[in-house]
């Protein structure tokens, strides 16, 4: 993650990520239930059902600089949660 913050991703890496995301989005929208879910999310997250018609273009417009900017803004030490797992003393299910 530090690497992405410090060094811009290559054009190829960005294109690959976009191709994968867009293909997956299209596959999710082939069937009616997938279309319904896409509209529901557009309303919930963007307050606009019609956002389903523009979100792929928006994804396509993301630049290398955008990726770096977002990585720097959100992936900060202050924002992180680290979870350490350890074995319990006894079988929890028997308590």
């Amino acid at each position: 993650m530090r690497k992405i913050q410090n060094t811009p991703v290559s054009a190829n890496e960005l294109a690959k990520a976009k191709n994968q995301l867009i293909t997956r989005t299209l596959q999710e929208r082939e069937q009616n239930d997938g279309k319904a879910i896409a509209i529901e999310r557009a309303i919930a997250y963007e307050g606009d059902a019609a956002a389903v018609n523009t979100d792929i273009q928006k994804l396509q417009a993301v630049t290398i600089a955008d990726v770096q900017r977002v990585m720097k803004k959100y992936f900060t030490d202050k924002n992180r949660v680290v979870i350490y797992y350890q074995n319990g003393d006894e079988d929890e299910s028997k308590k």
């Binding site: 294109a15 690959k16 976009k18 191709n19 293909t23 299209l26 596959q27 082939e30 069937q31």
Partner: protein, 513 residues
């Protein structure tokens, strides 16, 4: 800290459980009378355009332009039925190894290049076909086709990749052959259907060499024996041009290589085992034999009924051309009533009414001449015999009494609804087209599915059940000592054959080492 967390969780789950139960209560009340199904809507069936390349490769295109995606499936009309029994699993290993390296691309390059396009590639073999499938956005199709053609025409069959694939397959088998459900299917292949298991056994997988793979590829993967299926956002003209560009150089071999085996050669009659002499004919009329595979310490028992069906997916017309079997649609509707989906009879009786299993179902594996029918469910060892009795009672009921119109209508809608939803995706559509080509059926059969299902009558279902469920096998895989007494009590006049799992040999007719 931990204690607090735990208490909170408990409290939350208690509240949640309360909310859930009152919610469920409201729902149950509201839905005492399920709504009647609405009138069936006709699905829009896309047309399939067929063309042959000069090298005899068939091109089938279905244009569907709702999303900019294309699926391309190369279907070879050869599969596990064409492999040598001693090399069971060869067809599937061959298909799987195609994507693991070509003369110019390594396995990781194939994966990387397709990932870059946002696409995916998969390959595998069934009983009578082998397929390689890609799905990509339509503007990436040209690049993806280059990779598809490369893996089909120039595979390297690298020894290291084969060894890796074999060891993965062997690991999978070592695990799966200890699972009662998987083991029951493997036993059924040999015991009930006189087939070898298409996934191979540890012995046959170990025996497969890179020469076997190369030979199978050479004899079975031929242009004249294959169909290139395009579905989705593509025109017929473009599909045919891409097919010619990438697969046009796929040539006939110099001589027609004699096939290792054909389905016709392979099908033997079920082993002629003397029927249970003490059995009273009218007690368990649907069962001929009872086989227990004893898997000590198995947590669950798999209870399966298997029967070879006297009908293939295809029939033959007066001119000896393959046509859809008249039994296909009655069999499908019957299966939907019996064990297709959550509200089918088996699941109703075993799971919903009695809580004996997480699920029970049934299905056909279609073949060209005869086909394989099986029901499957898993239950705790204690209730294995009870579940067996329930399954047999449902099979008998299908032959004895009519399915009511109120039950039949929604079961048909399950089938036609699934079909319609399949046609909505490029992958599903390619699969439905591939199924027809696997049996050399005319592609306009796609239009026959919905009317075919809707035309099935009660009497056809009854007739099919009484003709085909009269001499099947009951196969139970589980911890025998737990259900031994109950099984003997419930089937007092049946001879119960028991084989210990560690004495099982799937390559022997006796099934024993």
């Amino acid at each position: 800290m931990r204690l607090i967390l735990k208490n909170n969780l408990l409290l939350n789950s208690a509240i949640f459980a309360f909310l859930l139960s009152s919610f469920a209560f409201v729902i149950a009340n509201a839905q005492e009378q399920p709504p009647t199904p609405s009138a069936p809507r006709s699905a829009k069936i896309p047309g399939v355009v067929e063309k042959k390349l000069p090298n005899d490769l068939t091109i089938a295109t279905v244009e569907r332009k709702n999303v900019p995606l294309v699926t391309v499936q190369l279907l070879v009309q050869s599969g596990a039925s064409n492999e040598d029994v001693a090399k069971a699993g060869l067809a599937n290993l061959t298909a799987s190894l195609l994507t693991k390296g070509t003369k110019t691309r390594s396995a990781s390059q194939i994966a990387e290049q397709l990932e870059f396009l946002g696409g995916s590639i998969s390959s595998g073999a069934g009983w009578n076909n082998s397929v390689v499938t890609i799905t990509v956005m339509s503007d990436k199709l040209d690049q993806a086709m280059a990779i598809l053609a490369d893996v089909v025409l120039n595979p390297k069959f690298d020894q290291k990749e084969l060894d890796l694939l074999k060891s993965q397959t062997l690991d999978g088998l070592a695990y799966n052959l200890k699972q009662p459900g998987f083991l029951a299917n493997y036993v059924a292949s040999k015991y009930s259907f006189s087939e070898h298991p298409a996934g191979g056994t540890p012995e046959t997988i170990k025996a497969i060499t890179s020469k076997d793979i190369a030979d199978f590829k050479k004899s079975e993967y031929q242009a004249a024996n294959s169909v290139l299926i395009f579905t989705g956002d593509i025109t017929t003209v473009k599909a045919q041009a891409l097919a010619a560009k990438y697969f046009g150089r796929w040539r006939f071999p110099a001589t027609v290589i004699e096939k290792i085996a054909t389905i016709e050669d392979d099908v033997q009659n079920p082993p002629d085992i003397a029927p249970n002499t003490g059995a009273k004919q009218n007690e368990v009329p649907v069962v001929r034999r009872v086989l227990v595979v004893d898997l000590p310490d198995s947590g669950q028992a798999s209870v399966n009924y298997t029967s070879m069906i006297n009908a293939g997916r295809n029939d033959w017309d007066a001119k000896n051309n393959p046509i859809s079997s008249k039994k296909f649609y009655p069999a499908n509707v019957l299966n939907s009533v019996l064990g297709g989906g959550y509200s089918s009879r088996l699941n109703q009786e075993i799971r919903i009414k009695r809580g004996l299993s997480y699920g029970a179902g049934s299905g056909f594996s279609w073949r060209s001449e005869t086909s394989n029918f099986s029901t499957r469910t898993q239950t705790k060892n204690e209730s294995a015999a009870e579940v067996a009795e329930l399954v047999l009672a449902e099979l008998k009921r299908l032959g004895d009494s009519d399915v009511s119109a109120a039950e039949l209508a929604p079961r048909k809608l399950v089938l036609t609804g699934d079909f319609g939803r399949d046609l909505e995706t490029t992958v599903g559509l390619a699969g439905r087209v591939a199924e027809l080509y696997s049996f050399n059926l005319p592609v306009n059969e796609l239009n026959a599915f919905i009317p075919g299902v809707n035309a099935v009558t009660n009497s056809q279902i009854k007739e099919f059940a009484s003709q085909n469920f009269k001499s099947g096998d009951l196969i139970i895989v589980g911890d025998y000592k737990i259900f031994k007494d109950d099984l003997a009590k419930r089937f007092p006049n049946m001879k119960i054959e028991v084989i210990k799992a560690d004495e099982l040999d799937l390559s022997k007719d006796t099934l024993r080492k």
